[in-house]
């Protein structure tokens, strides 16, 4: 037990190599190099598994066209416009505390709520991009509901913070000038 933990996997691999005469080993290495060179002539770029493909399945037959998703403005253009309005409304809310020194509680709460919505939709976009529904449906569901839960928790925490402490902008100011 101890020995197997102490020994590194590389050492173990070396130990597993059959004891061949050196001449045979050299010959096999040589042939491996020649084969690699032969294969490499057909490849213009090296293969790097930076982003390995996710699991996939074939819907219908291979000759079927990719299904076009149902159009829905509330998931499309309305959602897009809403996202932009939220982002744009963050500009005055972000500039105001720099101009005025701090924010009053109402504006501070508004800033927190807007940032929360902006963060939530931002994280949603990330999940939609990187956890595709057609490849990893279960992971997608897990991430979406995990985000929903996290946003509820953060909303609750921000409510607590806004009602019991001095507010987000004032806190940042105090930490910044501490």
């Amino acid at each position: 037990m101890m020995a197997s933990i102490a020994r590194s996997s590389l050492l173990r691999q070396v130990a597993l190599v059959p004891k061949l005469p050196i001449a045979t080993r050299l010959a096999s290495q040589q042939s491996a190099i020649v084969n690699a060179a032969r294969v490499a002539t057909f490849h213009t770029t090296a293969r790097r598994d930076l982003l390995p493909p996710l699991p996939q399945r074939v819907e219908g037959t291979v000759n079927d066209a990719a299904p076009v998703p149902e159009t829905s403005p509330s998931h499309g253009s309305y959602h897009w416009t809403f996202d932009r309005l939220v982002a744009a409304s963050l500009i005055p809310l972000t500039v105001a505390p720099f101009a005025a020194g701090s924010l009053n509680p109402t504006l501070d709460a508004l800033l927190c709520a807007t940032i929360l919505i902006h963060s939530h939709t931002g994280f949603q976009n990330i999940i939609i991009d990187y956890v595709p529904k057609y490849r990893t449906p279960r992971a997608r569901k897990l991430f979406v509901w995990g985000l929903n839960a996290a946003t509820v928790v953060v909303g609750l925490a921000l409510y607590e913070f806004e009602t019991t402490d001095v507010g987000v902008t004032e806190t940042i100011k105090r930490i910044w000038t501490a």
């Binding site: 074939v58 972000t94 928790v153």
Partner: protein, 188 residues
Amino acid sequence: MIAQRAGTTALRRVAGKPNSFFTANVAKLGLAQPLSTTQTRPVATQKITAADAQALLAKQRLNRPVSPHLAIYDKQQTWFGGSAWQRITGSALSGGLYVFATAYLVAPLAGWHLESASLAAAFGALPLAAKGALKFLAAWPFAYHAVNGVRHLAFDLGYGFKRQTIVKTGWYIWGVSVVGGLYLAFFL
């Protein structure tokens, strides 16, 4: 096996298009009679179900190269691209907020002190260099996300789409965000 097949193929070719040398020496070579023109392959096919075939196909597809590859593009687009860093800085800022807010909510249960007064006191006790570094660590992503966010809103309204403009403003954003981050961290 392949050598064997290559030999058979060569013989078949010769048999189909006989040349004078070959026909003259057929008897000598003793090949006239037993030369077979049917190709044999040392493999066997087997029937599989449609579901298995689909599974095999899906498995084969995983061996296809992933495209597009990150390394084939212009460096500015891939590594300094505004939209990628917008996402990175945004998720860093929002991730920080989510982590802090969750910690704040469980703080009374865990016995932590995360109220503004103790945070400010703890931060104030740090050495000057650490303060500046931490502030810059927060200020730079904020500056980048804010300035580049405005650029993206301009894109969304249809402005600034000339190729030169995209490249130029892409670099301006980096300059402005670094200067802005340094200003926020050390002069505010």
